[in-house]
Structures are given as C-alpha cells and as structure tokens.
C-alpha cells in the first residue's frame, strides 16, 4: 500500500500536465512558431504599441483600485464577523458567496434594474426629489466596473480576513491594553500588523480576479474599457491574431505568476501563525456593537442582496397574470424544439458536473495541498496558474492538443468538470493548506505508535481533521462549477445544457418570455446554489476547532 501512496503525487502532476501545460504549450507554440521557427515579434509589439500599453495600464490600475475598495468595504465586516456573535452569522457568511455563481450578463441586468437610468433607485429618487433626469448614471463608467468588482469579490475578502481575525490571539491585544494602549492604538499597533498576512492574501487574490476580469469589463464597462483578458478574447476570436493573443496571455501568466509567488509566501506565513482556537465571539450588547453590526450588515444587504433581489423581482411577471409565468414556461416545450430541456434537467446537468468537479478538485487539490505543505512550496504558484490564464487561450489549446486518441477529449463531456476543477483546485489548495499545516505532526505519529498503519492514520486523523475545510472547499468547487460558463459553452451539448448555458440561450433571443425565462433560470440558479450551500454546511462533521480554512 505504501508504494501506491508514493504514486499519488503523480495524479496532480499528470492532471496539470495534460489539462493545463500541454494545451497551453501547444497553443503558444502554434501562435509563436506556426512554421516551426519562433517568431517573437508579437511579444515585442505589445510593448511598443501604445494601445496595448494603455490596456496594460488600465488593467493594472482598475485592479488596484478594485482591490483597495473591496478591502475597505470588507474589512469592517470581517471585524464584525470575527468579533460578534449574532443570529444566522454562518448562513450570512455562506450566502455572501452567492454573487460568485451568477453569470455577468445576469448581474448586468440586475444592476440595470437597480441603478439603471430607469431602474428602481433612480425611479425613487426622481419621484422624491421631482427630478427630470435620472440622477444616477453609472452606465459604462469606471464606477460600474468597480462596483461590480466589489460585488463579486466582497465575500472573498470577508471570508479570508474574518476567518483569520477570529484566530488572532486576544491575549496580545489585552497585553497591549495593560500597557496603556487605547482601542485605536491597539488596532494600529497590534491587530493590523497581525492581520497583515491575511489582508495581503485577500488583496492578492482579489487583485488576480480583477486583473483577469473579463465579463464585468466587457458587459458592464462597455466598449470604452478593455482589460488584457478582454483584449485577448478580441484578438483570439474576433481578429484571429493568435500571436498577439498568445503574447498577451503569456504576459498575463508571467505577471500573475510573479504575484502568486509573493502571495503564496504571505500565505504560508498566514498558515503557521494563528492559534488553532477560535476566540469566543461576544454578543452584541452596547450601542456601539449594535451600530457596528447593523452598519455592516446594511452595507452587505445594499451591496450584495439588493441586486440579487432586483433580479428575483424582475424574474416575476408583472403584467397581471400569474407572477410565476416565466418559471412555468421553463417547463413547456412550446416550439417543439429538439433542444428543449426541462429546467429540472438543466439543474440536474449542473449538479452532475458540479458533483464531479467537487470530487476531482477535492481529490487533486488535497494531494496538491499535501505536496505544498511537504516542503514543496515552489509548487504552490504553479498550481495557482490556471486562475490567471485566459479561458479562450486554454480552450483553443484543448482543441489542438487533445485531438488524438487516447486523449481525444475535445468533445468529451468529461472536459467540463475537468475544466471546472482546474479553476476550483487553487481554491481547494488555499482552503485546505492552513488546516493541513495546523495538524501537529506528532498527532499522526501518535496514531502510528498506537498501531495505525499509514492508511488508517490518514482515515482516522487527517480526514476528520480536514473534513471541515474540505466542506468549505467543496462549497467553492460547487460555486465555481455551478456558475462557470466560458468552458462549458465550448463543450456542452445542446441537449445537455447547464443552468448558465440555458440562461445564455434564452438571452440570445428577443422576446419578453425569453428574457423572463433567463431571469427565472438565474433565480433558480441562485436558489439551487443556496440550497447546495446549506446542505454542504449541514454536512459539517463534529465541531472541532481546526476549521481555519478559507483560502
């Protein structure tokens, strides 16, 4: 058995090799050396052309500003979640992940329903202040991009920082108090420096998300804004200039790799420092407590919940008949289309792919986490690379690389959960690593001296100690798979749509019923995900204190 255990590291290495590096290398080779000789003109070109330079610059600064804004808004909430005990705290924290699953095009609709020129908010303001023109017009402004980035990434920052904050040793702050430090001084001199690794980790992760932002910039930013990712797509698909697309992809990968290297360093510091025990959260008692908790929950409600609610409202029919018309129509194949798929089946497809993605990403991510924890820290940034790689570049890579038996997987449905896993694995690693590093090696040794062979040590010690973070990792894998669209649309059969591809199919056609059904399907997607979250949360095994996962 021991022999087989030694072969386990091969699984992630083969996985990353086959489904990441091989396709990526293939597309880069085809782009740079179509005739067999490398022509790197495109790489130098992107650094000469003013347009690309300004795209680089925009990509960079919008990511920085988005990151700063996200952190500024999420940090106070992280404090509240780390410090106070209030009803539905866990549920609220989990539900805050919902924006993650929604396709950008749906979120764009939600924002327009809420703050568009004829949206709810402008309507109210116009009525109250008797204004001729809608006072709020964020349409196609940088503010819209920033707002959407905060909307998507708020929960990432909240979850990382609050989980860490809970584990900061309270004694230190109290020691400072005995030394005469005021509340403010304690925050600046003790808490903030201790939090820095968590803040850095959150910042770099949010930065990478926004640096590689595609849908938000394309759909909400409008034609005047383009990030690298948008430009890569335009070059690869619309213009079909593969060398430029590949050069931009390569730049994006190299840049993010450097950043990841910094990130994983802060990350390993994070994992070794905090105490394994959660400080007891205190109840909300004083007016200041109430103000803090209430204020932050209000921010969360306004920022995260109102757009989602606007979406739900829009999915209902307001024309007088049955408000659930669009939901009902989802179940009827009116046109006799061969591609009609009842929503239950779309839900089923999504859940099936999500289930497979959870299994793949947990198994592979777990092995990766063990590799990284076992003195292979340099592997960590490599495992994170898929997060930073343009989907269309990699998708084209699949087309040319995976075309020969036994790897003729180009049209195989198995590629869907595999592609989802590629994105989910970095999340699994980030979630599992801290808990893995927190397991005292002596605990495993103790089990060995008590007669447990390596397999049983893993089953009776590691597994139960990691089960909690594996559930959190499962939530992320589930979320990523349920919301993923880009890879799925390349592969999914028309008679096998997932919920996001069904949404896009409705949105591709004119007509009120199509639009309504798209929003109804989006609402269903949120509902299915919420139920999924709650079920996964329910699975929590025991209540041990080693659940400091979260990235």
């Amino acid at each position: 058995m021991r022999k087989y255990a030694r072969l386990l590291p091969l699984i992630p290495l083969i996985f990353f090799g086959l489904f990441y590096f091989y396709p990526l290398a293939s597309i880069l080779q085809l782009s740079f050396a179509p005739e067999g000789r490398f022509e790197l003109d495109a790489v130098t070109e992107i650094f000469r052309d003013r347009y690309y330079l300004s795209t680089l610059w925009f990509t960079l600064w919008q990511a920085i500003v988005s990151t700063v804004l996200t952190l500024l808004l999420a940090l106070p909430a992280a404090y509240v979640f780390a410090t106070y005990d209030f009803r539905y705290k866990q549920t609220l924290r989990t539900i805050s992940t919902l924006p993650f699953v929604l396709p950008t095009v749906v979120v764009a609709n939600a924002f327009s329903a809420l703050i568009g020129p004829r949206g709810l908010l402008n309507g109210i303001l116009q009525t109250v202040f008797r204004l001729e023109e809608p006072p709020i017009d964020l349409h196609q402004t940088i503010w819209m991009i920033l707002l959407a980035h905060v909307f998507y990434n708020y929960s990432v920052a909240l979850r990382i920082v609050s989980a860490y904050w809970e584990r900061i040793n309270q004694d230190l702050s109290q020691a400072a108090e005995t030394l005469g430090a005021s509340r403010q001084q304690r925050f600046w001199t003790i808490t903030l420096p201790l939090l820095r690794p968590a803040i850095m980790a959150a910042a770099v992760l949010v930065f990478i998300f926004t640096f590689t932002s595609f849908g938000v910039v394309l759909l909400l930013g409008g034609p005047r804004f383009a990030t690298l990712e948008v430009e890569i797509y335009r070059q690869a698909v619309n213009i079909f200039d593969l060398p430029v697309a590949a050069a931009l992809s390569l730049f994006q990968i190299v840049f993010t790799f450097a950043l990841m290297a910094v990130y994983t360093r802060t990350q390993s510091r994070i994992a070794t420092q905090p105490s394994s025990r959660t400080a007891a959260a205190r109840p909300v008692t004083t007016p200041l407590d109430r103000w803090l908790v209430g204020g932050n929950l209000t921010v969360m409600f306004v920022l995260l919940a109102t757009p989602l609610l606007a979406l739900v409202l829009r999915s209902l029919s307001w024309t007088g008949g049955n408000p659930f018309t669009y939901y009902g129509r989802l179940f009827v194949n009116e046109r006799g289309s061969a591609f009609f798929v009842p929503p239950i089946q779309a839900v089923g497809n999504s859940l099936m792919f999500a289930g497979m993605a959870i299994v793949f990403s947990l198994v592979i991510g777990l092995i990766c986490a063990y590799l990284v924890a076992d003195r292979n820290r340099w592997l960590d940034p490599i495992f994170m690379l898929p997060l930073a790689t343009s989907a269309v570049t990699l998708g084209f890579g699949y087309i040319i690389a995976l075309d020969e038996p036994p790897l003729n997987l180009r049209q195989s449905l198995i590629l869907i959960p595999l592609a989802h896993s590629l994105v989910a694995i970095p999340f699994v690693i980030r979630t599992v690593l801290p808990a893995l590093r927190a397991i005292d090696p002596a605990v495993r040794e103790a089990a060995g001296t008590l007669g447990a062979d390596p397999q049983r040590v893993w089953l009776t010690i590691d597994w139960p100690l990691l089960s909690r973070v594996l559930l959190v990792a499962a939530v992320f894998a589930f979320t990523i798979s349920m919301g993923e669209f880009g890879a799925t649309v390349f592969i999914a059969r028309p008679d096998n749509p997932t919920m996001p591809t069904a949404i896009f199919r409705f949105l591709g056609r004119p007509g009120a019923v199509n639009f309504g059904q798209a929003l109804a399907m989006s609402t269903l997607l949120m509902l299915v995900c919420s139920v999924g979250f709650v079920l996964i949360e329910r699975l929590r095994i025991g209540d041990n204190n080693l659940d400091q996962g979260e990235f």
Binding site: L30, V105, A108, N109, S112, A113, G116, P117, R118, G119, L218, L219, G222, P223, R224, R234, V237, N238, I239, F240, S317, T319, G320, G321, T325, Y326, N333, R335, G336, S337, A338, F339, F340, G395, F396, I399, I400, D403, E404, R410, Q411, V489, F490, A492, R493, P494, D495, T501, F504, R505, L507, G508, R509, P510, G511, A512, V513, N514, F515, G516
Partner: protein, 348 residues
C-alpha cells in the same frame, strides 16, 4: 422551364440518395455537425434525415460564431466534425482562405436564392439569411410626437438624439453587420462622417446584443427606443410576448440601404471520412423540410426559395428590398480597418 429542370434535378438527387441508401453503397454513419451555440432545430427534423438516409447526426456546438470558426481552423488537420453550420458572410473569407471546406455542387442549390451564393466554388453553401436592421419600439413612438425612423439618415437628425443603441462591431456580430450597412450606404468615404453625427446625437454603444436589447432598449426597461437587431426580431417579440399580444410591438426599418444581410453557410469540413454522407446532410439542410424548420428555431430566413414561411414571419417580418451585401473579399480586406476607424471615431 427552370422550375421543371429543378424538379427533375431534385428528384434525381433524391432518387440517387435513395438508391444509394437502399443499395447500401453508403454505410450508415454518425455525422458530426459542428455549429455555433445558437443552432436550434425542432424535434423530428434531424430524425427525418436519419429515416431518409440511415445516418444519425451528432451536434457539436463550439461557442459563438467566431469561436466556432477559429476552432475549426485550428483543428483543420484533424477536424472536429464532418459538416459545419453557421459560418457567415462577414467571416466567410477567413474560412475559405484557411481551406477548411471542400466543394460540393449540391443539386439542392438549384432552389437556393442566387443572391446568397457568395462562393462560386460551392465550398460554402448558403443555408439561411437574416437582415440586421434598426428595430424600434412601436409603443414608444406611438406615445411620442416623433415619427418612427425610416432610414439610417434619421438617426443623425437631432430630433432623434439619445434614442439609439448599437452594438460594438469589434465584439458583436450584429454590430459588425450594422457597421457594414453604413459602409455600404455612405461609402468608404462617408460612413465615418455619418458615425460622427451619430456620436453627436448621443448614440449608445454596447458590447453585445443582449446588453443592447435587454438593457438599453425601452421594451426592457432601458431608455433607447431604437436598437440594432434583426428584421426577424419583431415576429419573435410577438411569439414570445407576455402577456400575448394581438399585433406587432416592435418593427424594423427595412428601407433600401439600411440593413445588412447576414448569410449563413453550411459546408463539408475538409478531412472528413464520410464525405458522401456529409453531402447527403448538406442536401438535407438545403432541402424543404429543414429549411422550413429554420425560421421559428433560429429566427432567420430560409435560403431555399421554395420553403414556406411560418405565419408569424409572413405577418410581422419584413424582408428588406435591397439590403447591403458586400462581397466577402471586400469585407475580409477592410474589416479590421473599418472596425479600428470606427473605434477611433465613436469610442475615443
């Protein structure tokens, strides 16, 4: 006379196909039909093909039209399927230049509208067409003093300031089509001036059709009653209305030189191992059964002139008299220049 000939040819074709099948000359195979993700057919349509020929059809969707074409080019040494559906005239040259299609002089071409045949070698065979036109909100214009627009020129009229939304030609295919309509209408010298006027008139640009239609258009809570969409959108609005409506709610501007005709093609992918069966599928897709199934599934018009249009299309869809049709070589030669010049004028 021509009609008789056609009938004979078709009949012969069918006979050949039938005998071929009957005598077992073509083994029943599974054909892979590569398409973009907006490909839809009714239940029973492809089964009819299987009944006729014994071949089954497996669908291989590959993303949007641009993604699909590029993937076919990337995989041309080892094609992803046997037949491709949905290469349009704006990208036709890219497909032809990269030699991904093999020619097939289908007997069914006899019934196809000649104006749609852009490839003299018949590597790409026209299967349907749709006209990208201005659509407007009838209700909005009924409530307004303003007359509905009657042509491109109206959009530059200050009375129409702030009423129009178009799509970005560099990211949207109707956007590109509409840009070409303006190139055709105003010439290469004049189209940029026209767009400059639209900019002065506060034209709104969205990156995709969905955002333009479902966010900016007044029918869906936006503030723009004029949107670039398809001549077939009005019948869709009726078919998918909620609650049901008695008459049209939107209309399209179909005046001469105000629309651009997007033509979609089918073709046999070079390297297929089932060329004979693929030819049968092409014949089928150009034939009446499939052609008549096209409108209500994909909201475009059949290329086969003998195909009958569904009622809603007859009632609410107008086919423009003389839409712009630039030849594919001109498009290929100028597409990037037009887009980048347009970008300079409209977005910068």
């Amino acid at each position: 006379m021509k009609k008789i000939l056609t009938t004979i040819t078709l009949g012969l074709g069918a006979l050949i196909a039938l005998t071929a099948c009957g005598s077992g000359e073509i083994e029943p195979v599974t054909l892979k039909l590569v398409s973009h993700d907006s490909f839809f057919v009714s239940e029973g349509t492809l089964e009819a093909f299987t009944e006729q020929t014994g071949h089954t059809v497996e669908l291989v969707p590959l993303g949007d039209a641009g993604e699909m074409l590029n993937q076919n080019i990337l995989s041309k040494n080892n094609p992803l399927g046997d037949v491709v559906f949905g290469i349009d005239n704006t990208f036709l040259s890219r497909a032809l230049e990269n030699d991904i299609l093999v020619a097939y002089d289908s007997p069914a071409l006899a019934d196809i509208d000649d104006s749609l045949k852009l490839d003299p070698e018949n590597r790409a065979l026209p299967v349907d067409f749709g006209d990208v036109c201005l659509n407007y909100d009838l209700e909005w214009f009924a409530a307004s003093d303003l007359d509905a627009p009657s042509g491109l020129a109206d959009l530059a009229d200050p009375d129409y300031a702030g009423l129009t939304v178009v799509e970005n030609p560099s990211t949207s295919s109707p956007g590109l089509a509409f840009l070409m309509a303006t190139v055709d209408a105003y010439g290469e010298e004049g189209y940029l001036d026209y767009w400059a006027q639209l900019v002065d008139n506060d034209v709104r640009v969205e990156n995709g059709w969905s955002e333009a239609y479902y966010e900016a258009f007044t029918r869906y809570g936006g503030d723009r009653p004029i949107v670039v969409s398809y001549a077939s959108s009005p019948p869709a609005e009726v078919l998918f209305a909620d609650p049901p409506v008695d008459g049209a709610v939107t209309a399209s501007v179909t005046a001469p030189s105000s629309c651009f005709r997007q033509i979609e093609f089918v073709g046999i992918l070079a390297g297929t191992e089932h060329e004979a069966a693929a030819q049968q599928l092409i014949d089928f897709m150009l034939g009446k059964t499939f052609q008549e199934d096209i409108p209500l599934n994909m909201f475009v018009f059949p290329s086969n002139t003998t195909a009958e249009l569904p009622e809603s299309f007859v009632a609410y869809a107008t086919v423009p008299d003389s839409p712009a049709t630039l030849n594919p070589e001109t498009i290929a030669a100028n597409r990037e220049t037009w887009i980048s010049d347009w970008t300079d004028v409209v977005l910068r």
